[in-house]
């Protein structure tokens, strides 16, 4: 028992550390988002409302940039929904792992985004009776929610004093961070096929459809391969 307890402390420390670094990386983009929001005609409360209530970065950037490029409110709203569709698949996967009932579920739902799902799934689902996965989800959710909103506020009031996140390589850091979280989930041959297939479909479609659709289309690979192999298992 002694060693399990020590183990858990190590694992817990590692998870919390990761959660904080993800929050910090994401926050740099939060500053950009805040600045973009107020420079494209949203008020500070409106920009904040997006980070507090919508809380899914890709949808937020899409909504604001559609409005900025002269799109109608309806087009902007629809585009943001399209970007948020993948979160439905994430919550479908995370709900049985999180095992929560009541009002807590409504909070968990709001925190279900790329980063929290990737972190939750990067842990062994059975480790410490699922505690590792749950801690990874909640710690990342808390860290990203707080830092994303704080950063949005700073960006919204100061209008981008920090410069281009790309100069710090942050765009690559975010991609690499997500990749590092997907990496341990890709083990079997079927998982490798799904990952590669999904990536290829998304890239192949990128020039032809509006942003957001390529990533969604990758779901097809999971549906087809999952259905076929799942039937064989039963």
């Amino acid at each position: 028992m002694e060693s399990t307890a020590t183990n858990w402390l190590t694992v817990r420390k590692e998870i919390v550390g990761k959660a904080i670094s993800i929050g910090v990386a994401v926050a740099m983009y939060g500053v950009s988002f805040g600045a973009l929001g107020t420079t494209t005609g949203l008020t500070i409360p409106q920009t904040m409302a997006l980070s507090l209530l919508m809380f899914t970065g890709a949808s937020q950037f899409t909504l604001v940039s559609t409005l900025a490029s002269g799109g109608t409110a309806l087009t902007a709203v629809t585009a943001s929904w399209l970007m948020g569709t993948r979160n439905a698949a994430y919550s479908m996967r995370m709900t049985p792992i999180l095992k929560i009932k009541g009002p807590g579920r409504l909070v968990a739902v709001q925190l279900t985004i790329d980063e929290t799902t990737a972190m939750g799934l990067a842990q062994d689902e059975t480790a410490f009776e699922g505690r590792a996965s749950r801690l990874a989800f909640w710690a990342t959710g808390l860290s990203v929610y707080l830092l994303w909103n704080l950063a949005t506020f700073i960006g919204a009031i100061s209008v981008s004093a920090i410069g281009d996140p790309k100069a710090f390589g942050l765009d690559a850091a975010i991609a690499a961070g997500l990749f590092a979280l997907v990496w341990p989930q890709i083990k079997s041959r079927i998982e490798v096929s799904v990952a590669l297939g999904g990536a290829l479909i998304a890239l192949a479609l990128t020039p032809f459809v509006s942003p957001g659709v390529p990533v969604l289309a990758a779901a097809l690979v999971a549906v087809i391969l999952g259905w076929v192999t799942g039937r064989r298992l039963s």
């Binding site: 809380f55 479908m92 799934l121 690559a172 289309a217 999971a222 999952g226 799942g230």
Partner: protein
């Protein structure tokens, strides 16, 4: 503008909620279960690919691709998470600083 902000947020929350509202026994079917397990892998891999090689609707090779290659190498050597992320950031930032990539 408030319409766009609030309608957008409400729809995005509804989408997140939708996935959690599917009854457990539906997800227990082996074929459905397998699909649900593979979905995040497909979506997140696609997201990484797009974040690495797409700018809006254009496919581009810039500092991000070598950065991800460096990160992959670091992952192969079982580097800790933060090191992987820092290697990617440093590679992209360095290539851009010296004007070797955009």
């Amino acid at each position: 503008m408030w319409f766009a902000v609030l309608a957008g947020a409400a729809g995005c929350y509804a989408l997140k909620y939708l996935g959690s509202a599917i009854p457990g026994h539906v997800l227990e079917k082996p074929s459905v279960k397998q699909v649900v397990v593979l979905l995040p892998i497909a979506l997140l891999s696609a997201l990484v690919a797009v974040q690495t090689m797409a700018t809006s609707q254009e496919l581009v090779v810039d500092a991000r691709l070598p950065a991800l290659a460096a990160a992959t190498l670091a992952l192969r050597f079982k580097s800790p998470f933060i090191i992987v992320v820092l290697i990617a950031a440093a590679t992209a930032a360095g290539l851009r600083y010296f004007g070797l990539a955009t």
